[in-house]
């Protein structure tokens, strides 16, 4: 089992943070472009899923899977969006618990409570990077 990469988006679509671990193939566009494309896709995916649902959805869009990877999506009440790509053997419920923990114990602690971080700006703090890296590597499904 593997974790490929993590994207964190602000409510307004800004890419706040990106980190990768076992990603072997890269796109030819810049990170910002890639972020915009991904955010747009997720945005469409959310409304698509909600519109096509035959009954009221509680959680909405959570993840999709191809033959090579699974994209996991977690959104907080404040509309911060976490996207974690893993391989296909990882289940969404495991990832959701991990992303919840990353939100509460890394994002809130080392971005929101960092006085030098302005909400909505990309996160440049090395402390945040270290903590995030540590957290992901400690998870049960990081190889």
């Amino acid at each position: 089992m593997t974790i490929y990469n993590l994207y964190i988006f602000h409510e307004n679509g800004t890419l706040l943070y990106y980190q990768e671990w076992h990603r072997r193939k890269h796109t030819e566009m810049s990170r910002e472009e890639e972020g915009k494309l991904l955010y747009g896709m997720i945005f469409s995916m959310k409304s698509f899923v909600n519109k096509l649902s035959p009954s009221d959805l509680k959680d909405g869009f959570q993840s999709f899977k191809t033959s090579k990877y699974r994209l996991n999506f977690y959104e907080t009440a404040s509309s911060v969006k976490f996207i974690l790509n893993t391989d296909t053997s990882v289940t969404y419920s495991l990832v959701k618990d991990l992303l919840k923990a990353v939100y509460a114990q890394v994002f809130v602690e080392y971005a929101v409570k960092n006085p030098l971080y302005k909400p909505g700006d990309p996160i440049l703090s090395l402390l945040f990077k270290n903590k995030c890296d540590h957290f992901i590597k400690a998870s049960s499904f990081y190889k």
Binding site: P115, S125, L126
Partner: protein, 155 residues
């Protein structure tokens, strides 16, 4: 961390941000923060010492600061206390609360002084109400570790 501490942390962040927003007046901002800390410490200690007896000497008082006082403000004790027995005390906190969300090394080091001013004042105010006139400075070489130096002024 107890959630009841979070409002104080966030208030401190805003307090600092408010006073240092006028960029050219950073020294003035730091002395305002220090003064706010002084008054806070001066009042706070009235409440904290209601159960303790009179301190037998200066060192005894400094030990109280490192233990009970620091625990009541920052939920931890000072990690190391040193003195030259001539009125200079060095209090070292290895994981200082107001810095430990910012960095764990040299990144953002230039911003450290603004997050120390309030606490320096807090210490000075506390000591002042207990009869010790002092100068308190803070030295940060790698976050989140801090050395507070207390120089007692003899009259």
């Amino acid at each position: 961390m107890d959630s009841e501490e979070v409002p104080l942390d966030l208030l401190h962040i805003e307090l600092v941000a408010h006073f240092v927003s006028q960029k050219d007046k950073i020294d003035e901002a730091l002395s305002t923060l220090e003064a706010i800390g002084f008054n806070t410490g001066y009042r706070l200690i009235e409440r904290l010492t209601r159960d303790s007896l009179k301190f037998k000497d200066e060192l005894d008082l400094m030990k109280f600061i490192c233990k009970d006082f620091w625990v009541s403000v920052f939920r931890k004790q000072i990690d190391n206390l040193r003195t030259n027995h001539q009125g200079v005390y060095v209090l070292q906190d290895n994981t200082f609360k107001f810095l430990n969300k910012i960095s764990d090394g040299k990144q953002y080091l230039e911003f450290a002084p603004r997050y120390m001013a309030f606490t320096c004042g807090l210490l000075r105010g506390t000591l002042a109400n207990l009869g010790i006139v002092s100068v308190v400075t803070a030295d940060v070489t790698s976050m989140p570790s801090v050395k507070f130096q207390v120089k007692v002024q003899r009259v």
